[in-house]
Amino acid sequence: MMKLNLALNHKVGVEKNPRKVKNNIFTTLVIFFSVVTISPIILIISKLIIKGAKQINLSFFTETAPDTFVAMTAISNGEVIPGGILNGITGTLFMVIMAALIAIPIGILIGLYLYENPNKIYANIVRDIADILQGVPSIVLGLIAYIWIVKGLTNGYSALAGSISLSIMMLPLILRSTEETLKMIPISLKEAAIALGVPYHKVIFKVMIPTGFSGLSSGVLLAISRVIGETAPLMLTALGSSVVNYHLDKPTSAVPLLIWEFYNDPNMVNLIWSSSLFLLGFILTLNLLSKHIASKRKAN
């Protein structure tokens, strides 16, 4: 009797219930498409590692990019292409640090303003403007920095123009993350300081900002990681340079600009992989670092 029952149950379970079949197909599709979604990142990273890792050596970091004839000679002699991407690394760091120096203080101050005036109509307009700015394609900001700085100020392509275009990209990211971070701090902390008679500017700069420091730095890191791989706006502003440059008013290279140059030069095209691997590695490290800080903050 028992056996019969079990067998019957079993049979009912196996019977093709169209609803269950649909459900199973759907679940399979969800898993399948999810795997498809993540495969590009795995394919991209592995391609860069396979083709690029072997080219990364000490001179990659200490020498500037070779010119096309040197590269051609090396190729025809069957040698490794000499040189590195020092001019790109220094240019990227120079311009990104300049951009951060402009965008961080302004972004944090605006974030503070929004936090202090949550319901003002003007504050809502500022929020909307930040949203608009965040959606502006980077190439358009390149055009703007070209008009304002290249044409208007430095009379030619310059690191400053590149920095300005990057800083406009960073600004909305930093101010929104600042506001979100401050909102997460319990209001009673601010009140505790006020109740001690602490002057307003010290409440802001000595209590609120230090308390939100990890949130702010996570936002800043994320903003930097978003702009560090930008190519299009730099093509219109910094242009590129074959030497290491630290002058604000001179054309300057950057890692993404070098990748673009290598890509367009048949003699140097082999260098794209190592440069891209380096750039992606740098960005993903910043990304993960920012996430790590943010999640540690949440755990607290």
């Binding site: 993540i38 403007i129 600004l171 992606l280």
Partner: protein, 285 residues
């Protein structure tokens, strides 16, 4: 005497003016730069498909690039839709709060970190030959390849918000459906999608807005021809890619035409992003 409170508040307000002036300045400069080409060709600049920079016979029209931008972005959206939606369900519902969902979520986030130019390289050296091998097109350049790479690029933007909204579906609603004997598929169809609908729509609109302005990867894959594309596997140009491509040798009327295209791009992305943000704002109320 000014108190520290007043000084600080003024400082914060002054900072907020910077972003207002920068944005106003962007609009002012784009409009100013676009005036020469609009005064030369009038509104037909938008509807003309002639593009001829040779001196004396200069003709500029933005239509091919507007068309190229919209076609590639719509294609990207269509490809991205099932992928991003499935991944969002994976993260926000099927494996919510499980380790595997965190791993998938992190990998999807990493997609957002890959620079456009690296997508371009990968598209050029991996995706394009693959398309040629499939016999879809002889060179592999064009609308389809661009749409495909764009789809990959916007997936993280669509997924992050959609997954979050799906995870927010009230548990009691889901449990009510399960208690009536619904399958998971039916719960997704009749509970999760209806309750998360506007959020999902908003996140795909925002992802679409992203696609409109992507530059480098498209520049490397679309084939850069200044005409209205003639099918999925034809070549073309987008508004962003034509600026990147033609900028180097531009001055005078041509520069003005490129700035005018930048202005159009600014307006279109502004409208799309505005619509997305508006829906999200209504949601959070």
């Amino acid at each position: 005497m000014m108190t520290s409170e007043k000084i600080t508040k003024r400082l914060l307000f002054a900072a907020s003016l910077i972003i207002v002036f920068v944005t106003a300045g962007i609009i002012f400069s784009l409009v100013g730069g676009a005036i020469p080409v609009f005064s030369e060709f009038g509104i037909s600049f938008i509807f003309s498909s002639d593009w001829n920079p040779s001196e004396g016979k200069e003709e500029y029209g933005a239509l091919p690039f507007i068309a190229g931008t919209i076609i590639t972005s719509v294609l990207a959206l269509v490809i991205c839709l099932p992928l991003a939606f499935s991944t969002s369900l994976f993260i926000g519902e099927y494996f919510h709060d499980k380790k595997v969902a965190k791993i998938i979520g992190t990998l999807v986030d990493l997609l957002a970190g890959v620079p456009s130019i690296v997508y371009g390289l990968w598209g050029f050296y991996v995706l394009r030959p693959f398309i040629v091998d499939l016999g879809l097109s002889s060179q592999g350049f064009g609308i389809f390849t661009s749409g495909l790479i764009l789809a990959i690029m916007i997936i993280p933007y669509a997924t992050s918000i959609t997954a979050e909204i799906i995870a927010l579906t009230p548990n009691d609603l889901k449990e009510a459906a399960y208690s009536l004997g619904a399958t998971r598929f039916e719960v997704v169809l009749y509970v999760i999608i209806p309750s998360a609908r506007s959020g999902i729509v908003a996140s795909f609109i925002l992802a679409f807005g992203r696609a409109l302005g992507e530059t480098m990867a498209i520049t490397m894959l679309i084939g850069n021809t200044n005409k209205i594309p003639n099918g999925l596997f034809d070549t073309g140009n987008t508004m962003a890619s034509v600026i990147a491509n033609q900028f180097g040798e531009a001055d005078g009327l041509k520069l003005s035409a490129l700035i005018a295209i930048g202005l159009l791009l600014f307006v279109i992305t502004g409208i799309i992003n505005g619509a997305g943000k508006l829906i999200i704002k209504k949601l959070s109320k």
